[in-house]
């Protein structure tokens, strides 16, 4: 029986030339749930998920995924264990077609079976509504569509744990709505760790919220609890809490 927590970190720390972007972050992620990671700009959210996925090397601390200590594994091996990661700053294959972008993501798992890859790619493109642009060169897409593509590449990997770093940045409202439905559809099978500043999206999707501030955990709980938390109010939401 797998444990409740698909991922836990203990004492995760990242220090950039004296400045701690993350300091002793202890974090548990419940299986099958949507967890939102929020916090002010520069709080260290991206750094945190970067260390979880292996993109950023931690200064110290451990990361346990599926009961396995993956702290020493290189990024690609962590991904292979079922972690998918989407970048905050769009990172796609600008010179390749949209189709090929998604296919590369799908191919790692589906490997040599061309047919399986094809049907996966088509399914994913349908899911995000980019099917009719499949042959377009990704770099020619508008910014919003590139963001969607970034999400599609994550989906194509059928991850256990899906880390999304501000996926709705630049999305039009209709697309944001589509995204919310997408997340809701995934929830249950896939564990989702979502970094978001759009409180509306957070409130509509998250089962659980974790707040980071100045590199440290500030609060953790259900959306209601977090929203009520005065410290979070002060550090993050400011007066603009309108969600």
């Amino acid at each position: 029986m797998a444990s409740v927590n698909i991922l836990s970190t203990r004492g995760l720390t990242k220090i950039y030339g004296g400045l701690a972007a993350n300091e002793d972050v202890d974090f548990d992620l419940q299986r099958g749930k949507v967890t939102a990671l929020i916090g002010p700009n520069g709080a260290g959210k991206s750094t945190f998920v970067g260390m979880v996925s292996g993109r950023i090397r931690a200064t110290r601390g451990t990361v346990v995924f599926e009961d396995q200590d993956i702290s020493a594994l290189p990024a690609h091996e962590r991904i292979r264990l079922g972690i998918a990661y989407t970048f905050q700053i769009t990172s796609i294959y600008a010179g390749l077609s949209l189709y090929e972008n998604v296919a590369i993501a799908a191919r790692r798992r589906l490997g040599s079976s061309g047919r399986a890859v094809r049907s996966k790619v088509e399914a994913v493109l349908d899911q995000v509504g980019l099917r009719d642009r499949a042959e377009q060169i990704a770099g020619d897409l508008s910014y919003g569509h590139q963001r969607v593509l970034e999400i599609a590449m994550g989906l194509a990997q059928d991850p256990e744990l899906f880390i999304l770093d501000e996926p709705t940045q630049g999305l039009a409202e209709t697309e944001v709505d589509d995204f919310v439905s997408l997340i809701k559809a995934l929830a249950g099978e896939t564990t989702i760790l979502l970094i978001e500043h759009n409180m509306d999206v957070v409130m509509r999707t998250a089962d659980h919220i974790h707040v980071l501030d100045m590199g440290r955990s500030l609060a953790s709980g259900t959306p209601e609890e977090v929203r009520a938390n005065a410290a979070v109010q002060a550090a993050y939401l400011g007066s603009a809490v309108d969600a």
């Binding site: 990661y85 990172s91 040599s112």
Partner: protein, 314 residues
């Protein structure tokens, strides 16, 4: 027709055309073409790394020369027959490529360029330093009577042509297959965005190392074949200039296309050959041609074909 099938026919067609040209072309062009095919193998090896993986090496002459010396020295000093000597050449290139890859891949981008350049330069100087063995810049001639490969006397026009064609075809088809394979697509992904590829779960370092080794080995095979087919090995082939040539060929022909290397070598060879019969200042013509080509065929000749007419071109 699917693209895969089209591509297969295209490649087989090119090979058939090359075979046919032997019977059609005048003698001079036949022997030129034999040489072109060997150099095209070199260019294809380079293209695998540069065009498909996005790693710009300025030290491929090291691999070419290693293959050349591997075969050449074995035959020259130890009277090893051509077949095992060829294997020796290829293996030497493989080992050197693995070592260079291991070290140089700690770097990327321009540093990779320079590191490979420096290794190649050290290789060139080593060939000179051990001049007693290698006969340095002057090089040495491989005995004509020893140049028999699988029973064929490759110092004759026919055998040479078909030996070159065989090597070319094997590499040509293998690369055409490789670049459509998942591994080949991974290389392209690395070229386009390495960080993203790593974060999709690919071991990019391993893939790059394999690419360097494959590329170096193919280049080495070309070097060994050159020595065997044309009977000469020398340090000139280890100079920087011979590292720049494949880059030029590939860029002219179209980087990241299977046909590009062949087209690039043919173009460059005949550009020099034809213009030099018109004028002593053929380098001027060649220079102007290169500049014009970059202005009007930005993606190389095969790249332009692909862009303008045949989107499916591999």
């Amino acid at each position: 027709m699917t693209n895969a099938r089209r591509s297969l026919y295209l490649h087989l067609g090119v090979i058939a055309l090359l075979a046919a040209l032997f019977f059609i072309l005048p003698a001079y062009h036949v022997s030129s073409l034999a040489r072109i095919m060997v150099l095209a193998v070199y260019a294809m090896g380079f293209n695998l790394l540069f065009g498909y993986t996005g790693l710009l090496s300025l030290g491929h002459a090291l691999f070419f020369a290693t293959g050349m010396y591997g075969l050449g020295l074995a035959m020259y000093h130890f009277d090893v027959p051509a077949e095992p000597a060829f294997v020796v050449g290829v293996i030497c290139a493989l080992v050197v490529a693995a070592a260079v890859g291991f070290l140089a891949l700690r770097t990327s981008g321009v540093s990779f360029m320079i590191v490979t350049l420096m290794f190649a330069q050290a290789g060139y100087l080593t060939a000179l330093y051990f001049g007693g063995w290698t006969r340095g810049d002057e090089g040495f001639v491989i005995r004509q009577d020893a140049r028999v490969f699988l029973g064929a006397d490759v110092s004759t026009e026919t055998a040479r042509y078909f030996a070159a064609l065989t090597l070319f075809s094997v590499v040509f088809l293998a690369i055409a297959y490789l670049v459509r394979s998942p591994f080949g697509r991974t290389l392209v992904a690395i070229r386009e965005n390495e960080e993203r590829t790593r974060m999709l779960g690919y071991d990019t370092h391993r893939a790059k190392l394999i690419a360097v080794i494959l590329s170096g080995t193919i280049s080495g095979a070309a070097g060994a074949a050159y020595a065997l087919l044309f009977g000469y090995a020398g340090a000139t082939f280890a100079t920087v200039q011979y590292s720049i040539f494949p880059l030029l060929w590939v860029l002219l022909g179209g980087a990241g296309t299977t046909l590009g290397p062949l087209i690039g070598v043919v173009f460059m060879f005949y550009l020099i050959d034809l213009s030099s019969s018109v004028t002593q200042a053929y380098m001027l013509i060649a220079g102007v041609a290169l500049v014009l080509l970059t202005l009007f065929a930005p993606q190389g000749l095969a790249g332009e074909l692909r862009r303008r007419a045949f989107r499916w071109l591999p």
